[in-house]
């Protein structure tokens, strides 16, 4: 397959996926083991399917480990992470923004502009990309810690997380309009704004569907 195969004889990615699958299988097994019996069951109970899927995932995980060792290192073309940061950050910004009641139109405008920016990604704009990456990292904290917090409740962290969220939002905005692409950024945002406005009006006025409201939407 490739020339470096001799040096690194295993495919790390496949091995990692294998380990993740086995970890997933263990999570399922634990969940089923923790279930407390329950109602009278004739036939099979609620844990059977979980065990079957866990066993399947475990076997597939082992299969990955085997394949990873056997196939040798694979070369894969890289992924431009800053583009991923722009788009992932945009969706995360929308989630955070809606949670903070910034409203549908600003949230969607931001989503549109940042996604478009991800597709315009130009490596020469390193500074702007760095801001986006920082923003994405910030959102990762804001959205990720409560998720982990389900398992490990962390009290008193919420206000700090909200501050991190706002800073990330600001970073994303700054990245969007960082010169010399200010004009393109504004153009994208303008299109996003018009689109979200039309959608908002169509949904709420014609279809009587409720979309998240913020200060701007209450004026409409």
């Amino acid at each position: 397959m490739n020339t470096d195969a001799g040096r690194r004889s295993v495919d790390t990615a496949t091995l990692v996926i294998g380990v993740l699958l086995i970890a997933g299988a263990e999570t399922l097994r634990r969940d089923a083991a923790a279930m407390s019996g329950g109602i009278a069951t004739y036939g099979i109970g609620p844990t059977a399917m979980t065990y079957v899927v866990a066993a399947g995932l475990g076997i597939l995980g082992l299969g990955h480990l085997l394949a990873g060792v056997r196939s040798g290192a694979q070369e894969r073309e890289g992924i431009d992470l800053s583009a991923v940061a722009w788009i992932g950050g945009a969706v995360a910004a929308l989630i955070f923004g809606l949670d903070r009641a910034i409203g549908f139109i600003p949230g969607v405008t931001l989503l549109f502009a940042a996604t478009a920016r991800g597709f315009r990604n130009d490596r020469s704009l390193a500074m702007s990309n760095r801001l986006a990456a920082l923003a994405a990292l910030g959102f990762l904290l804001v959205l990720g810690i409560p998720l982990l917090g389900v398992a490990l409740p962390i009290a008193g962290l919420k206000p700090a997380l909200v501050v991190v969220g706002w800073i990330s939002l600001a970073l994303l905005l700054a990245g969007l309009f960082w010169p010399p692409r200010t004009q393109t950024g504004l153009k994208d945002a303008a299109i996003g704004f018009v689109l979200s406005l039309i959608v908002y009006l169509a949904f709420t006025k014609l279809l009587t569907l409720s979309l998240p409201q913020g200060p701007l939407e209450r004026l409409l």
């Binding site: 959205l143 998720l147 389900v150 689109l195 998240p212």
Partner: protein
């Protein structure tokens, strides 16, 4: 003969100019709203239900029919053009349809979907008009063990979507099955894998997974690889219209799709997804060009689309004859009926024949209207792909997020969308097929529930699973489908050694 007379009277109602206008408005609105990902025909109907209240019962039912078919067609449009299935039943359409669109054959893909829907819708409506009572009697005979056998058969067909590595395909399928475990277990009322998050109690929504994996995952992947492998999308290459070859390759899949979709749709727990899986698998097996599958084979659009639409007409059968709402859409139609104090069921045909036949006739009318309205629009739809890439994908993301926001208002749902999007990116990067995961999420919970119901009724006796003739037949077909390829291979090898 009575049926003909009644149907004729139905047409007299449905063909009044005002009624035609209602049908046209319905088709137009339905297509417009149905285009939004995450907003399938059921939600489209629910959203537009209030619009129809202002009309008289017949007019409103006719508009219903138009919205219904329009919404279904809208769902496949987004599947084909922007790889964003509007609903779970058009997921399979995205597999081949989007490949076609990307290589400039979006026109034929949309056309075969529209005409296939028309053919299937028309044939299925004829079936509805003439065979409803007999088919429903059969459908009622299906017990949990028979459904389980049907789902086993559907599982066997998943391998058609695996691509070249069974290991990666099975992995994708099992992750989908694991996602299907999340939420309240319907049979025991206990929660699985919810970790105290109340939003997870209702489980992972199929459209959230599909939109996340397909639309968001793709946006991330295309953006991330712009410098390595810029995506080249040609809106139109060759004819915008279906060529002679396209027709030749489409008409049989339409008919086969209809034959699968209509009866399975008529089963109270059959659904629209299973026939699309079966149809995709059959078309792949029967195609003269199986190598095109995965790269934009027109049969892979024609068959599943026909199956999807035929099953929609099939679901109307138990609704109209027995009053059983067996799909989301049917449940909303039932709500619509009840607004006028009508109770679909055994007595509806006898008590309100004009209304029932008017509805059936208007299904035909809506079907025609859909083709008339949409075929000229194909050219316009395809032009969507000419939008500059940044705006096109930004628009796709907006629509995907919006569909989720409109369908489920919680941030947890959007978070899942993001996580599934990132998962979709990784799966593309490491070459894992995406469809099996969605199939696993759809089929896993259904199969589990039916299996457990069957075993609960039989008090745990597994023999019950094969005792019913229906179940035994279906399982035999599944077994044959599973081992036949190996037998063939063995036979070939045998022949080869003999030579």
């Amino acid at each position: 003969m009575d049926t003909f007379v009644s149907l004729g009277q139905g047409f007299l109602v449905a063909l009044e100019p005002m009624k035609l206008l209602y049908a046209l408005i319905g088709v137009f609105l339905g297509t417009l709203v149905g285009v939004l990902p995450g907003i399938g025909p059921a939600l489209t109907l629910a959203l537009l239900l209030p619009v129809t209240f202002k009309l008289d019962p017949t007019g409103s039912l006719i508009m219903f029919a138009g919205i219904y078919y329009g919404g279904m067609y809208g769902g496949s449009t987004t599947s084909i053009l922007i790889n964003t299935p509007g609903e779970s039943a058009s997921m399979i359409t995205a597999l081949e349809g989007n490949r076609m669109a990307k290589s400039g054959r979006g026109g034929p893909a949309l056309a075969t979907a529209a005409i296939g829907s028309f053919v299937a819708g028309t044939l299925a409506t004829i079936g509805l008009a003439f065979f409803a009572p007999y088919l429903v009697a059969l459908a009622i005979k299906f017990g949990p063990e028979d459904y389980f056998a049907l789902m086993v058969l559907a599982f066997v067909t998943v391998s058609a979507t695996f691509g070249d590595s069974p290991l990666r395909g099975l992995t994708s399928l099992f992750v989908g099955l694991a996602l299907g475990l999340v939420g309240i277990d319907i049979l025991s009322g206990q929660s699985r894998l919810t970790y105290g998050v109340p939003e997870l109690l209702d489980g992972v929504e199929v459209t959230t997974l599909a939109v996340g994996l397909f639309a968001i995952g793709e946006a991330l992947y295309v953006a991330g690889r712009r410098h390595v492998a810029p995506e080249e999308v040609e809106p139109v290459r060759g004819s915008l219209w279906m060529t002679r070859e396209d027709w030749a390759r489409s008409w049989k899949p339409w008919l086969r799709g209809t034959a699968l979709g209509f009866p399975i749709g008529a089963l109270p727990a059959g659904g629209a997804e299973i026939p699309t899986f079966l149809s995709y698998n059959i078309e792949k097996k029967l195609s003269t060009k199986p190598e095109e599958f995965g790269h934009g084979a027109i049969e892979g659009v024609a068959g599943p689309e026909a199956a999807n639409n035929a099953s929609a007409a099939g679901t109307l059968m138990p609704l109209l004859t027995l009053g059983l709402p067996t799909s989301a859409t049917a449940a909303i139609l039932l709500a619509g009926f009840q607004q006028y104090g009508l109770n679909p069921g055994p007595l509806l045909f006898a008590e309100k024949p004009d209304l029932v036949w008017g509805l059936i006739a208007s299904l035909f009318v809506a079907n025609v209207m859909l083709v008339v309205l949409n075929l000229p629009l194909v050219g316009l739809w395809v032009r969507l792909l000419a939008i500059p890439q940044p705006w096109l994908y930004a628009g796709i993301l907006v629509f995907a997020a919006m569909g989720t926001m409109a369908a489920n208002p919680s941030p947890v749902e959007l978070m899942m969308l993001l996580i599934f999007g990132l998962l979709g990116l990784m799966m593309r990067r490491y070459d894992y097929p995406i469809a099996p995961m969605v199939v696993g999420l759809i089929l896993g919970p259904m199969a589990e529930a039916q299996l457990r119901r069957a075993l609960s009724i039989s008090l745990g006796d597994p023999v019950a699973l094969v005792q019913s003739p229906i179940a035994a037949t279906l399982l035999a077909i599944a077994l044959a489908a599973l081992v036949a390829p190996y037998l063939m291979k063995g036979l070939d090898r045998f022949r080869a050694t003999e030579d």
